[in-house]
Subunit: 187 residues, 2 copies
């Protein structure tokens, strides 16, 4: 990679971060970012094929951090498996709420299929979710576990989450409802 290209990539990330701090992510146009970065739009798009992928690049650190933290929790915690799962959910929802703008951009972009689902990020998220689900899902095949992880992620996507919040549910209520649904129960 040429040195100027590397510099430009950094300029873009800095400019985007700056603008996203100043105003709502959805109101920041790619042109704005290019302008603030002091480069052409062509250069911007060569580095990040669309706005969603740019947002993903900016989220990567946050998510990586979240995943690392959660994996540590899952290995060290001594709480009951149920409690562990609920705590995981709670923290995931907190994380979502904190990064909602970036995540919404990623999840509602025009090419979710190729951008989000095929990303390294999604794979890692599934992985983590599978780890969180496994202890509360007895007698389940690996493929079904993967399926449930996909479903859990889908349930808590921006749109759906925002809708539940709008309906008046608190994060706690959502956590409780989800865990009631996902945890193998015999009542």
């Amino acid at each position: 990679m040429r040195k100027d290209a590397q510099i430009n990539q950094q300029k873009i990330l800095n400019a985007a971060a700056k603008l996203f701090k100043e105003r709502a992510v959805s109101t920041v146009s790619m042109k704005d970012i290019a302008q603030v970065a002091g480069i052409g739009t062509g250069t911007l798009y060569r580095n990040f094929p669309n706005k969603s992928e740019l947002c993903m690049a900016l989220s990567l650190d946050y998510i990586q951090q979240f995943i690392t933290g959660e994996e540590a929790q899952l290995h060290n915690s001594t709480s009951s498996v149920t409690k562990q799962f609920e705590d995981f959910l709670t923290r995931w929802l907190e994380f979502r709420e904190r990064r909602i703008q970036l995540l919404t951009e990623i999840e509602t972009g025009p090419s979710v299929m190729s951008t989000f689902y095929h990303s390294q990020l999604y794979k890692q998220l599934v992985n983590l979710t599978m780890q969180a689900l496994k202890p509360i899902s007895d007698n389940i095949s690996e493929s079904e576990l993967k399926f449930r992880a996909d479903m859990l992620i889908s349930m808590l996507k921006s749109d759906s989450f925002a809708y539940q919040r709008e309906q008046g549910l608190t994060r706690e209520q959502i956590t409780s409802n989800i865990s009631h649904l996902m945890i193998k129960r015999c009542d």
Copy 2:
């Protein structure tokens, strides 16, 4: 409502239906539709505030029909509750697959929140799903039932469904996995 307005609305629906039959929904622009309908784009947008809502209007008949059919099934069927739920899922997935382009447009539009979630259509869909879920969900509050219906719909949205299909799952496998997840089980 003025008579010319009424006529134009019909012209739009006809033009859209015609174009959507000829080529992929996503490749048909609003300008195309206005042109074929023989009206200005302003008129088009006064009738349907965005492409998603136009697609919803076109889907309404299909979905209404589906809902009516399913409600009849739910009242008349003599199968076991489990079987009934699985049949419901199967037919819902079949329906999705048949109308996938319109549904994708609706569910991935820029304003899903106001267009989809706040539509009469969504309310009816939730209603139906709650009816389908109720027999397999003992001891559950009405609000939790509503939540589960929301979640089930969210799990099977276009993106998520398309991803599962792409991963190689058949409709039958998806049905089976979902029913295993949603049905109160004591194994």
